[in-house]
Symmetry: C2
Subunit: 149 residues, 2 copies
DNA sequence: ATCGCTGCAAAAATTTTGCAGGTAA
DNA sequence: TTACCTGCAAAATTTTTGCAGCGAT
């Protein structure tokens, strides 16, 4: 296995417990199982992908949808759109390092995590110019990977 | 009506005819009607929104789906994802000025067209660094508009 | 003992497809 | 005439919801 640094997401379970308790929500088997799958996978997964990686019968697909909505509201996962109309979710890294983007191969769907981000100053300008507050962005790159060219 | 400059998309119909003929495809009523709707609307529309703007019975919803796929392949429309999992389509402006982004209010769904773009040099770096070719990007901004704050 | 959560099943919403007849070229 | 295209209906996908029972706190 490759060494990773910004992929480390080990804080997930204690953090989940803390945040759930704080909202009077429960730490259940399905929720831990889902978080485990996300923790082991470095890139966004669809609900069905999570479902199929879970031990057979471990958790209902509807529960996965419900759990991901909850986790998204708790800001523990981030939703991504890769342009095919299917929601994908990735665990938010610990601390403030969560925000990042992806480079996706349109041939084989390989995903590379991208550190670079849209310039903050320019985003601020865009917000100010239009009178918007709390502006964020979604940004994904698409292209052909070395093998698919 | 407000004056517009970069929203002008009047070239649509002759261009459509030219491109369709070139591919041995046909200039039909539904296709012209759909293009007309897109031409009159400055921001991305969903299939259903196009459907409901069309005179009752003018065109089947399935035909709209089929037409938009065709137009997307012909690069006459561009598909956008506003983060809700529903496909939206906008007419590509004439010439090379087509590429742009949007600032979307998460409160009322108001859409503002944004001229600024991800820095080309940085995108090139990202492509080179990962050995990718033909790299493009999708970028949308989200925030709260003046009224919704 | 609560109140939230889950599985199951059904429904809703979005998108795709098959087919017979109609239409642009 | 010949492909292509359309409407209609049905199907396939993805996502949401209702409800009765189970389970975490």
């Amino acid at each position: 296995m490759k060494h990773s640094h910004h992929h480390d997401k080990q804080v997930a379970l204690p953090e989940l417990t803390r945040q759930l308790r704080q909202k009077a929500r429960k730490v259940t088997g399905p929720r831990q199982a889902i978080l485990n799958i996300l923790r082991q996978h470095p890139h966004p997964l669809t609900n069905k992908e999570i479902f199929s990686r879970l031990p057979k019968g471990e958790c209902d697909l509807a529960t996965i949808y419900r759990s991901l909505h909850l986790l998204e509201n708790m800001a523990m996962v981030q939703r991504y759109d890769f342009g095919d109309g299917v929601a994908r979710y990735e665990l938010v890294a610990a601390g403030a390092a969560g925000h990042h983007h992806h480079l996706i191969c349109t041939g084989c769907a390989e995903v590379v995590e991208i550190e670079d981000c849209f310039p903050h100053k320019l985003e601020k300008q865009i917000a100010d110019r239009n009178g918007f507050k709390a502006v964020t962005h979604k940004l994904e790159f698409f292209g052909l990977c070395p093998e698919c060219q």
